[in-house]
């Protein structure tokens, strides 16, 4: 095992002549001695190499694969100084080892760091490419949807139902729990301020409106991005890395129809349902606080009924469906655009979640403004 050996200098003769520097180590150059050999060598070498470097192995009794690194060190040093490098005194086996080790060891120019302007430009191009890619992908999905309307038998119904189960019913517990807690938290945080105006019961309005119109769909979509968007990216990304997507294409099967559409339909169907579920439990969570303050269930439900409108309910459903389409599209697109290498799937998954959540919030803002303009 290579180690830094402490103690006396390694026996290395370094002599400078008209032809350059001759370096003649003695004894073993191996994993055990490599640290000491390098220390000694670096101390004895001239500060500036004026001529060729010759490494003489004739007095070396033992050389291993770590010991060969001395030749690599001197070779790179010589090439960096623009002088020649030569090995002498090595028999056939050593020569082979050294020659193999020296292949491609010329010092390389370090890659120049791109300037600020270039970095900004590259980032802008990457953003533009990403947007173009997303638009193109949505176009691909639209084309496949048109195809499926004409040939509905091409829809993979089994896969779609399986995706509904995995990304819908399996999320019921977590969505319900978060919805309930959000409702309770809103009621808890607004109770005192509302009480100052004598509007304790109107906390029910606040809970109902915010949960049904806004927070129910939002919480559901964020959970969807974390659970399903990441899963889509990881599943499809792994298929890309293992060439399963190539296999599909060579069979003439469109990966968008085969993989994306079932997931997209499944999430678009189940997410509004989950949002309703989150809203119901959110309203129930609100009652937990108001009930503790002495209001009856009848008072609470009457207030909630007055606060809710059909428009508000529809608004929540539309938002949930739009969020689902965004999360599923971004997750699947990230998977399809997965690069090569072990870290690629992880990167795709991260991108799917982050981009999914950003898209949800942006869409929520746009939809909020849209419904406000419509007076809903």
């Amino acid at each position: 095992m290579p180690r830094r050996s402490k103690g006396a200098d390694a026996p290395i003769a370094v002599s400078e002549g008209a032809g350059g520097v001759l370096i003649a180590p003695e004894g073993a150059i191996d994993a055990e001695s490599i640290g000491r050999v390098r220390e000694t060598l670096e101390r004895k070498l001239p500060s500036r190499l004026a001529g060729a470097v010759t490494l003489d192995f004739s007095k070396v009794t033992h050389l291993d694969a770590s010991g060969v690194s001395v030749a690599v060190f001197l070779f790179r040093l010589a090439k960096g100084a623009g002088v020649g490098f030569e090995i002498t005194g090595a028999d056939k086996d050593r020569r082979l080892l050294i020659d193999l080790a020296l292949r491609g060891q010329e010092p390389q120019e370090p890659a120049k760091a791109p300037g600020f302007v270039r970095e900004v430009g590259a980032a802008s191009i990457a953003i533009r490419d990403g947007v173009v890619d997303l638009v193109r992908f949505i176009g691909e999905i639209a084309l496949v949807c048109v195809h499926l309307v004409r040939y509905p038998q091409h829809l993979r119904v089994g896969d779609t139902i399986a995706a509904m189960a995995r990304h819908g019913s399996d999320a019921i517990a977590v969505v319900g729990l978060l919805g309930f807690l959000i409702g309770a938290i809103i009621a808890f945080q607004t109770f005192d301020p509302m009480a100052k105006y004598g509007a304790k019961l109107q906390v029910a309005d606040v809970v109902a409106v915010s949960v049904v119109r806004e927070l129910g769909p939002l919480i559901t979509a964020i959970i969807l991005a974390g659970r399903s968007g990441s899963a889509f990216a990881a599943e499809i990304g792994t298929m890309k890395v293992t060439q399963e997507l190539d296999a599909l294409r060579t069979f003439g099967i469109d990966p968008v129809r085969f993989l994306v559409i079932p997931r997209l339909i499944a999430t678009t169907v189940v997410t509004p349902m989950l949002a309703i579920w989150a809203s119901i439990l959110g309203v129930a969570g609100g009652y937990m606080i108001l009930g503790a303050e002495g209001f009856t269930l009848a008072q609470y439900t009457d207030e909630v009924r007055q606060a809710l409108t059909v428009g508000g309910f529809v608004q929540g459903l539309v938002k949930a469906a739009v969020f689902a389409i965004l999360v599923a599209s971004i997750g699947c697109l990230s998977g399809l655009r997965t690069g090569q290498g072990p870290g690629a799937v992880g990167l795709s998954t991260t991108r799917a979640v982050v981009a999914g959540i950003v898209a949800i919030i942006l869409a929520d803002s746009v939809l909020g403004a849209f419904f406000y303009t419509l007076g809903i």
């Binding site: 690194s69 060190f73 082979l96």
Partner: protein, 263 residues
């Protein structure tokens, strides 16, 4: 006048590096049973057999990643089947492993991959570690790719980088799982030459799982053949000897590359 190569730590011929006694390998049920095998110090041993005959499972047992269903495996006198974790960790420093798909760490350059064992187990200065890692990469023909990420190189190159990483600490035993698969013939021959040179000069023991007949005959000193159908080790000997004179028809067919329908 060149110095004669290495009064190296080349062992006397019959010392045993790894000893298997009555080893059965498998998962729910045995794939191969009753393996008795002594892997000798300083030899190049190929382990081969048909697909699914348990070669890679055997490698997992030899590298203490999996326990055999029965029997004992001893490496340098330590029984790795019954030892505690500390003893196994210590034995693991005595061998390097190249896995079938390379198993390089993503997000690290090739140089950093090879440096990693040096950083963990040596106190060498940074620049020396760099040069040792560069030398190991050079040995497998990747000197010019030291600063690339595994994702930037081909599968064959990843395998070679994994061999360089297995060599990082100059272990006396190196296990290679299908090293030549996916490599072009010239690179494969270079790899064989490198293995043979390391073996000859340093006495490194190589245990190689491979189907590659060209490599087996070029550098294999012994060949151990597993047969999944009969669930046993069916042959052990010099590859050419087994090819030409084995009593076992399946062994001859395998080493002569004879299709089933001609048997």
């Amino acid at each position: 006048m060149p110095a004669p190569s290495a009064p190296a730590p080349r062992p006397t011929a019959r010392e045993t590096a790894i000893s298997l006694r009555g080893v059965s390998i498998g998962y729910d049920r045995p794939i191969i049973e009753g393996i008795d095998l002594d892997i000798l110090k300083g030899e190049i041993l190929f382990i081969g057999g048909g697909s699914g005959c348990g070669k890679t499972t055997l490698l997992s047992c030899l590298t203490a990643l999996r326990k055999p269903l029965a029997g004992s495996i001893t490496i340098d006198g330590v029984d790795i089947v019954d030892s505690d974790d500390d003893a196994i960790r210590s034995v693991r420093r005595r061998f390097g492993v190249m896995y079938q798909l390379g198993a390089l760490f993503g997000g690290k350059t090739l140089l950093e991959n090879v440096r990693l064992p040096l950083e963990e187990f040596t106190d060498l200065p940074d620049d020396v570690m760099d040069d040792v890692a560069r030398a190991k990469l050079g040995l497998v023909g990747l000197g010019a790719h030291a600063l690339k990420q595994p994702s930037e190189i081909s599968g064959g190159m990843q395998k070679r980088a994994a061999i360089a990483r297995a060599l990082a600490l100059d272990p006396p035993i190196i296990f290679l799982d299908e090293p030549s698969a996916g490599l072009d013939p010239v690179t494969s021959a270079d790899l064989d030459a490198m293995i043979e040179a390391l073996n000859r000069m340093l006495g490194t023991t190589f245990v190689i799982i491979s189907h590659e007949l060209a490599s087996i005959f070029a550098i294999g000193q012994r060949f151990a053949m597993l047969d999944g159908a009969r669930r046993k080790l069916v042959a052990l000997g010099a590859p050419a000897e087994l090819r030409d004179h084995s009593d076992d028809e399946w062994v001859r067919r395998f080493l002569n590359r004879v299709p089933t329908q001609e048997s």
